[in-house]
Symmetry: C2
Subunit: 252 residues, 2 copies
DNA sequence: GAGTGGTCTAGACCACAGA
DNA sequence: CTGTGGTCTAGACCACTCG
């Protein structure tokens, strides 16, 4: 009897096979039963190995259908270039990200919701407002039909109520330009990054499992006085994105 | 017969119990057998639930001994304030991070290795040098005895060979100040962040499992001409750190 | 209904830490 | 040596998707 292999070894072999292009991007893997027979492993071990690869973002399990190699390689999110006015205003609808992804050959889909709501506690504590509610704009974005991020922006009612910010089309340059027009120009940006498992809703839209992780980026825009006039929460699958920051060294 | 519960439910209950302080920071959890009996679940389900909590960084498994609630809450790593000369030069040995963590009440330990080596490919491709090797400085840092990060810096031989940079004590202000003194002042910093499972060596030092994730931060210092004169790789457990960036909005 | 992955079971054996 | 978690087994049943 040939010795059987454990789940780690199964994971290693499958990982190698994917990098080999034995199973190219988007391809369907054999079923767990088949893999178990082929590799001389127990199906539970195969299942566990596939969870690991899933957690790394290498494969995607379509329940009841099969397991597939993940179709979209990681995308880089450059932080600084996203936020200067000239670049904002040159892009078409969707802003800087749309421009970048089009350059990579993807077709973007954008599902927008606009309204008023009570922001999450972490946001409410920071936002400069006297109201419980704020204007929100939430976008669910996909590239070639694959969900890639959820972006939700909150703006104080005092500033945004009744303005273009509550409209579907916020005009050239988007919200940031409107804030400037309305006398609340942002002067500094801060981003706070945490990594955590997706919640149920995020997992559903982003097609993620509990073994995967999201970046939660809390992006704050402050005026020169330090007031937070815009708070945006980005939810990105970690296996789908790299983050990039660039800044001058303040070496006075 | 009362119905048994699955691994998700086990994970939820234990997570709640930890947030309750039923099991406070550092406490040992009951054994898997005990938990299985208490919660009316199978031990495999308990084991799987503990893996999930481990992946989130909530608990730490000391193999052969038991499972414990993780002792150290997440730390924030602010990116900008770390890199201006005045702050660098005020801190004691260990630099900006040491100062921050001391403020939080931790005792820092620092294990330094210095030498010459061939940098990883990703670094070698960026570093401006004609040699295969570069000077490296690697630090393994712990807070109150708990490992929290691995930091490895690579500097071209042309610049660093025979200088203070190859010494244990690099002098006031550290490497960055020495680079300036040597005529290679850094003008811009970039950081590229990815999230991935730890490799074997990282997992060993940082006491991590394959279910957890590290940030890999590739930190580059460039001169005004754009040459990379310093490349640093930070490895941080994601459950142990939040990252923070702040920058002015360049809105010309 | 057939095929896929998701999960649980009950028992077994192993690897490791510590007395 | 004992107790802990790590893993595998072989079988079973469930939930989901699609034809």
């Amino acid at each position: 009897m040939t010795p059987t292999i454990g789940y780690r070894e199964v994971a290693n072999r499958l990982r190698a096979a994917i990098h080999d292009d034995t199973y190219p991007r988007g391809a369907q893997l054999p079923t767990e039963d088949q893999l178990a027979r082929q590799l001389n492993a127990n199906r539970v071990s195969v299942n566990r190995a596939l969870r690991i690869l899933g957690g790394e973002g290498l494969v995607y399990v379509h329940r009841g259908v099969g397991t597939f190699v993940h179709p979209i390689p990681p995308i880089t999110r450059p932080a600084v270039t996203r936020h200067n006015r000239s670049r904002r205003e040159q892009g078409g609808s969707g802003g800087a990200l749309a421009t970048e992804l089009k350059e990579l050959g993807y077709t973007l889909t954008n599902d927008v919701a606009i309204g008023r709501t009570q922001p999450p506690d972490a946001v409410a504590a920071l936002l400069r407002t006297d109201h419980d509610e704020a204007v929100f704009r939430s976008r669910r974005m996909s590239a070639d039909g694959w969900p890639i991020q959820i972006v939700t922006t909150y703006i104080p009612l005092e500033i945004a109520a009744g303005t273009l910010i509550e409209e579907r089309d916020t005009g050239v340059g988007g919200i940031s330009s409107r804030l400037a027009d309305l006398g609340h120009p942002q002067a500094t940006i801060s981003e706070r990054i945490t990594v955590r498992p997706p919640d149920e809703e995020e997992a559903k839209f982003l097609r993620m499992t509990a073994d995967q992780r999201v970046y939660e980026i809390l992006h704050l825009g402050r005026t020169a006085k330090g007031d937070v006039v815009k708070a945006t929460v980005y939810i990105l699958p970690t296996h789908q994105w790299n983050l990039e920051y660039e800044y001058p060294l303040n070496d006075a």
